[in-house]
Symmetry: C2
Subunit: 467 residues, 2 copies
């Protein structure tokens, strides 16, 4: 007999079927035992009665919640009044004639039939493989899968191609610290994990891949702070020859279509998405991530807005010098070299963010591709020729072989999913998140490595004084 | 005027259009200049004549190959006899009235209108952003994108969901060396990059995600040898409650459908794919990756075959002890504990490979999930209780909460694509490959990190004696 999915039992009345799954709960009514059996597709009610098969009934009595079992039985309509209209299989029950135990289970460390917000998060993350059985987390992972699939299909349909860029790459300054990977073959040398595929996607534009995207893993070694993860997923996009307007239009259509298709219960507050300048946002809301909802408690309202016209430069009080607000490759709105050098406080950039309910969920820019503009920006920022060459040499060199005007955007998928799934933390929409302080509690990572490994990597651990 | 793609010019006769792209080549015939203009969609012939616009003609004379330009012009049918039936746009030419230069280009370091096999590979990789303009590499990246998209859609259609697993994870023994990532927050501790998502996908089975897949980045710090990369892409699959036969059937349908859809010029030698036991393969071909083609020179013949029934154990001459041929979690074909312990040389495993033209392109196994079998295997391999706990503790612990029978497979996408695209090396099907000795020549990686970075990571570099 071939196994079928539990959800199929709803239309198999009278048939003999084989099912497999986890025993969600067990009830006894007089001399009858009921299992709620759960597989990835649904839940079915299984019935054991002693008068039909005493031996089987005794076996069923031994079973405990979360055991994994296989059942053979006959699908029957439930008696009038015993039906559960709430679920797909609620009109049926399976009268068992075979019970096969695959594996037993200890009492699980916490209940999984609640939302789980009330459970200590450390406990949940240590036993994430149990926590994922919780319907809320399972729903989140499925919604994540569907949203990413939708975005991929949308972009492919628009003529984009996905290109994988390296994870073992080179240290570059992008605002946060890099994670680095020591090389065994080259003593004292390191790879860096990418903070984003920024430079590779610009190189792909030089290479003539005009419409690039990638669901890319990004890595930032930041100090534990708020709702962050050391690795996160970005929908990364770059296009050649497009204007800013075309990019924003693509981003808006993508999000509007996705919400309509996958989250029909949500309503988008305003379409087309309002566009605020950075100046307007700061003056009216005091932030460049404005929450423009009237009713901040309405979780079903999605208030998207674009923030544009960011300043090109900002004065870094700490360093007492001018820095790029985004990065030096962002294209200024002016091509007047003197203005770039002498009016740093007023130069605007072709930089844009997408904000949703007060969260920045995407950010991007058009890139500079003209040598004189890039040079003026680097000079304004006080870079020496040597620093420029060291940090951006390969990208600037590539521009010498025919660079198209280009620009792009990156969406933080974790943040977006947390908002549309009404989750308070991005950890709720990631299968195996780390804690706020970068630990994997389930795997017990980071962890020690052997002396031999360290030796092969030409490394020695130095304890800091304070430790 | 809105820009259109070059391929669209084929059906825009008489219209005024705007195009942008790279100048592939320039020819002068008497007083007429022709550009072949290339964008991601195709190539168009642009015409400049002095009698129409002297200034424009003079400007066009300055242009050199690989400059990036924008053209406005009128699409016209080419004169009889001047048509090029070989390409989509070959009946048209564009009579230019605007020429706008976005960027100039130096002479590119090598020709891109050839296959490129004759060019020094170091040169190609240093300037990969130019090399990707080569039609062969562009075709490879597009084919890669399409193949992965096809596999994703196929699996989603079969009810699978894609789940992202961490890249910053824990060191585990999987046959090769791990790349490790020092933690800044936890002095002396390291993350490891996954050799595959093996443990996470098994944990997802415990979590009740019954049909998992992921296009996963995998990392192995191996000694430079042959056609390998330190990072590679694996289509990773795991299912609960499936038999070996069901997994092989899925794998076969996936590959057969993909070839039919995306590589219709290829012919699959035999369907259903032949199934050889490990013993048969070794006896008949002397290898477990047999190339069963009659004519090894026929590049369009795809000879898929499965190799099954691998030995569970193998005697490692070097270590003078028994090891697992695949890994200790592979399910033996017998459940007889005494046989597992005492007849190691004859126990077979539920392990299987997919071989294509002599290359292993996928490998997988059913997993042990019964505690007594796992224990017998560990004992046979001579693991101490402590080692077991240290290396597999979290996975074995998860099995205590209800583990389903499960198994899976991983496809090496780079290898598969190299075979179906007739490429001699996987480097030809990867956008930004590293060299055989793990260097990124374009980015100059691995590279030095600063003293400050090392200090933050609690590390000191130790030069080996021999250096």
């Amino acid at each position: 007999m071939e196994r079928i999915l539990i959800k199929e039992t709803g239309r198999r009345s009278g048939e003999k079927v084989k099912l497999a799954g986890w025993v969600r709960s067990i009830r006894s009514h007089g001399k009858i035992i009921f299992f709620d059996l759960r597989d990835a597709s649904g839940v079915a009610q299984i019935v054991f009665t002693p008068k039909d098969n005493e031996e089987l009934y005794e076996k069923a009595k031994e079973v405990r919640p979360e055991w994994v079992v296989e059942i053979e039985g006959e699908v029957k309509e439930r008696p009038e009044g015993m039906q559960n209209q709430g679920i797909e299989t609620g009109n049926m029950e399976i009268k068992a004639f075979v019970l096969n135990v695959f594996s037993q289970a200890k009492t699980i460390p916490f209940p999984i039939d609640t939302d789980g917000y009330e459970i200590n998060e450390k406990n949940r993350l240590e036993h994430r493989y149990v926590d994922i059985r919780r319907p809320r987390i399972k729903r989140n992972l499925e919604a994540r899968h569907k949203a990413i699939k939708f975005m991929r299909d949308f972009l492919v349909n628009e003529g984009f191609i996905e290109v994988e860029t390296p994870v073992l790459t080179k240290s570059t300054p992008e605002g946060a610290r890099d994670f680095v990977v020591p090389s065994r073959n080259y003593s004292g040398k390191f790879y860096a994990l990418p903070q984003s595929p920024q430079q590779y996607k610009q190189l792909l534009m030089v290479a003539g891949v005009e419409k690039y995207f990638q669901v890319a893993r990004c890595f930032r070694d930041e100090d534990p702070r708020g709702d962050r993860q050391p690795e996160f997923t970005q929908m990364d996009i770059e296009v050649a020859f497009w204007e800013q307007k075309e990019i924003l239009d693509l981003v808006e259509r993508l999000h509007a279509d996705l919400i309509k298709e996958l989250f029909p219960g949500k309503k988008i507050m305003k379409s087309p998405f309002p566009v605020l300048t950075y100046k307007e946002a700061m003056e009216k809301y005091g932030t460049d991530r404005p929450d423009i909802r009237k009713d901040k408690n309405d979780a079903d309202e999605l208030a998207f807005c674009f923030v544009v016209d960011f300043p090109m430069f900002e004065y870094k009080e700490g360093d007492k010098r001018w820095g790029a607000m985004h990065n030096p490759f962002t294209r200024p709105q002016t091509e007047d070299i003197e203005e770039i050098k002498n009016n740093k406080e007023s130069v605007l950039a072709h930089q844009y963010d997408l904000v949703l309910n007060g969260q920045e969920i995407a950010g991007g820019a058009l890139r500079s591709y003209k040598p004189d503009i890039l040079e003026a920006v680097f000079e304004s920022l006080g870079y020496s020729k040597e620093e420029i060459k060291k940090q951006f040499g390969h990208l600037l060199q590539s521009f010498e072989y025919g660079v198209p005007p280009h620009g792009g955007i990156g969406f933080g998928l974790d943040r977006f999913l947390a908002v549309v799934l009404n989750e308070p933390s991005i950890r709720e929409v990631i299968a195996f998140p780390k804690t706020g302080d970068n630990k994997d509690l389930m795997m017990d990572s980071p962890s020690d490595v052997s002396k031999e490994q360290l030796k092969e990597l030409h490394l020695k651990i130095e304890k800091n004084e304070k430790e």
